[in-house]
């Protein structure tokens, strides 16, 4: 089994499931959504991120250690990401004093991760919160998710997962017993457009979702609202119609597109293809919510989170 990596453990998260939560962000995603604001989550392996603003001017420690990194004069570092291999990256791990050059991704050690996830248990208990798996796509690490979630269940800690369901059913199925809340991304209803913007296969998601909905009690559909992709009432309504037909789906959340992560592309040496302006269309979101709240098949709870 390949090692699973995580890139953050974020305590006091309040927008990813009920109550006060701690979110474990696992690395690796089968999709490649153009609008993705967590580019460091895409690769299953470690990444090298560079933040020019904290780089010490005149420091050469990383250049001395790795030939793929250069600096001309006092300008920013030039990193040839193509030339970097895993050995280089590991070699750079504790090299930068300022952590301007940062290796993103820690191997998951089940016990140590569980220790960290348990830290805020008193807050989970009082607020009805718990632990949330996120990513990337956490379910590409089904065994890792299962082991951790099971330990959390033993501790009476509520477990939620944010997933695209873009994985084989087997990986989902084995985790059903240990997950309490499912937050499932449903981005579009058109196969072609879905493929174009995410690189994925919509039918896989839909089939998984229908099966899942029959077997779980707490299911929320989450829709990222992306300009030019699905920011029309028609497209959002189609998604809502699908959600309303799912047996145990109670709520739909609309998450307006934001650009808080654009900088991270540059830090990873990647170029960003999405828009540089956040979605500013409160009217659309309000109408989408109204549509869902008054749906003839099922009245869905709604929420909008920027």
């Amino acid at each position: 089994m390949p090692t699973s990596f995580y890139f953050d453990i974020q305590r006091f998260s309040t927008h990813d499931g009920e109550g006060i939560r701690t979110v474990l962000f696992l690395k690796g995603c089968p999709l490649s959504c153009i609008w993705c604001q967590n580019p460091e989550s895409r690769s299953r392996n470690v990444d090298l991120m560079y933040e020019a603003t904290t780089c010490i001017n005149g420091c050469t420690l990383c250049q001395d250690r790795c030939s793929a990194i250069k600096r001309h004069g006092s300008s920013e570092l030039l990193i040839d990401h193509q030339q970097l291999n895993q050995f280089d990256i590991n070699n750079l791990k504790t090299c930068c004093p300022a952590k301007a050059l940062r290796v993103v991704g820690e191997p998951v050690d089940i016990q140590s991760v569980c220790e960290q996830l348990k830290r805020d248990k008193p807050f989970y208990t009082s607020s009805g919160g718990g632990v949330t798996f996120s990513g990337g796509e956490p379910l590409i690490h089904p065994h890792c998710v299962y082991s951790i979630a099971q330990k959390m269940q033993e501790e009476n800690i509520n477990v939620a997962i944010e997933t695209t369901l873009h994985v084989s059913w087997k990986k989902i199925e084995q985790n059903i017993p240990v997950i309490n809340q499912w937050l499932v991304d449903l981005k579009h209803m058109d196969d072609k457009k879905f493929k174009q913007w995410t690189g994925g296969t919509l039918s896989l998601v839909k089939n998984n979702l229908v099966k899942l909905a029959d077997q779980v009690k707490d299911l929320t559909i989450r829709v990222p609202v992306i300009p030019d992709f699905n920011d029309s009432l028609e497209e959002l309504a189609l998604i809502t119609d699908f959600a309303a037909r799912l047996s145990n789906c109670k709520a739909i959340h609309f998450l307006p597109y934001h650009t808080l992560g654009i900088q991270k592309y540059k830090m990873l040496g990647l170029s960003y293809q999405g828009k540089d302006k956040s979605l500013d269309n409160p009217e659309l979101l309000q109408k989408a919510c109204e549509y869902a709240e008054h749906h003839p098949l099922k009245q869905l709870q709604t929420s909008v989170r920027g």
Binding site: R11, F12, H15, G19, C59, L61
Partner: protein, 809 residues
Amino acid sequence: MNLDYLPLRIQKHKEVLINIIKPPVCTERAVAYTRVYQKNPTLPVMMKRALALSEHLETRTIWIDNDELIIGNQASYLRAAPIFPEYTVNWLANEVDALADRPGAGFSLSEVNKNTLKEIIPFWQGKTVQDQCYAQFTDEQKAILDSGIIKAEGNMTSGDAHLAINNKKLLAKGLDGLLADVKLQKQLVSHNSEESHLGNTQFLDAVHIVIEAVQKHIKRYAKLAAEMAHLETRAFRKRELVVIAENCNHIAHQKPETFWQALQLCYFVQLILQIESNGHSVSFGRMDQYLYPFYKKDVEQKNQLTRGFALELLQSCWLKLLEVNKIRSGTHSKASAGSPLYQNVTIGGQQLDQQGYPIDAVNSLSLAILESCGQLRSTQPNLSVRYHQNICQDFLLGCLTVVKCGFGMPAFNNDQIVIPAFIDLGVSREDAYNYAAIGCIETAVPGKWGYRCTGMSFLNFARVLLAALDEGKDATTQQVFLAHEKSLNKGNFNNFDEVMSAWQQQVQYFTRHSVAIDAVVDTALEQLAPDIFCSALVDDCISRAKPIKEGGAVYDWVSGLQVGIANLGNSLAVLKQLVFEQEKVSQPALAKALADNFNGIEGEQLRQVLINYASKYGNDDCDVDKLLVQAYDMYIDELTQHKNTRFGRGPIGGGYYAGTSSISANVPFGANTMATPDGRKAYAPLAEGASPSSGTDTHGPTAVYSSIAKLPTDKILGGVLLNQKLTPGTLETAQDFYKLSMLIRTFFDVYKGWHVQYNIVSRETLLAAQANPQEYRDLVVRVAGYSAFFTALSVDAQNDIIARTEHCL
């Protein structure tokens, strides 16, 4: 709650006050006191002070303005600061010509007043509290004070205060009732011929004079209100002035009957306490408890007063608190950014029922006070809420609604840690359940506790540590106070334990000296500036026939302030982890980098290693948190062995405990501290209170709570100050409010947190306010245990607030 409403007259009054950028100085008090002291050189000090206060109250300018409902003025002009020459004139003599130019603390002084001051200053030179202190300090003490490692300037240049008087008793007896007690006690003392009772008699005589003077003074206001009513053309205002006059005539003698009268009497007393002495943090105690019977009767039973008008009365009172002003020396102003008076009002908490079981004390007046403050959004009063497990959830959510207004209030204190700790100290159960916040966040039993439950001398932990790391040499002044053999420079610390021992030796040394310095200051204040009126209102001064400073109070524990808590912990973590365990940094290399202030590329590289590769306090990291606890305990173990000057003279206690509510002293203390091993550069601010260092708490508020809970909070009764900044987006939906309320509950119920307060202002707003102060005159932010108008702060203090970590929900 409707927090978007503010009565027009209150709006106008507030507008006037916040647009006074450089308030005037008033010399009337200084002149009256000088006159009385000059005329009666041979009288005992107690009598001099009683006569001086009495004469000042009789002759000073009084006015009623701004259509205010609660009346009384501290000085001759609006927001003018009186001068208290008996404490100090030294700084005044030096700064009198440049008062207007002090950043963040400018005052305007007319030529006439300047000349008046210049005339009276020579009389006081050599006679003030500060002069007497310096005459009694040893050379060593003077050197330590000059170095700034210990600061006690605020203590010898002003009165003590930091207490709440017994408002409940005041309201129950009225001024005539209090006077009757004094007369009775005088008879008892005069019959007690076996003891030497001269001092006791003099004290009681002095109290007698002062209470009568206060009564006459209130009647002066009655007369003025009646005269103004006569001339007033607007019918509503005429009626109000008539009532105000009647109220004053009534409360000058009798106990109040109505809510308005009760509030007015409390305000007059609050005001006169701050005319008698310029000690700050004069607090109201549990106002929602002792005023509740009046509120209930007038608003809820008899319907004599609408709730709206009751709120307006409260707001008028709050604005009158904002009018009270204090002028400090230029250097001292930096430690008290925004010229705050820290007049605290406490609401909520618990009370004991008839069977002695604790029950939630929240009532309709608690809510009214909360709402009145939420509407007004001013810096005064400093509003504190006593939290406990069974506090009404609606009230807690109401508090968060006010927190969202973004002026840093209310702050929360935790009954569940303070009450048991007080009982352990020897405070009676009944009194412990009746505690209130004083000043910023510190706590005491109102009306029964002596001065300065916190606010004794300040100790700079960061500089003590730097001395420990360099043979006892202070890095800032290069003086050696207590020499030892170990230094980083020589690389002769054999292990980390030796670092801890060096810290222990140094901190013990400076702690002993801080207590000795306190004793000198306390003695000078006792001999030269006893408070008569204030003592008369604190139990058991009358029955013991002596002022607070001689041991008149029922309880008398004090605390000093320790500055740089997080810097101490983080520096120790660097030494343990990077120097001794990992050997990543050598002792001499660290010493050199500190001496060079991390100069050059190598210096900066090392500094970043210190910042990024060692544990930091505030992230729920046991390694660093434990080191801090160990080091802090060494201080506390030494401190608690010491007594204050009232020990054995009457009060329960007479000792010390620790405290971290060090106002904004982290900024000027940092400005006198060289580079520290936590990677902090020389002159940068130290960490505030018990909060993590700016920007180092990267794991969110729950991790901060967990770290702070590891401190010995039951021994830090002078306050464990935690300031958190949240973005406005944190509190939008009902779910957000619920989650924040659960965050607070868990912090207090499970982690036994001591205190927390929230600043909800976005970074962008603060930067905009810094750039365009004229557009943001009303922006109030939490500084350190109190709120201040942001634009009135110095740029350093503003930057410190901006730098503090913002936690996003």
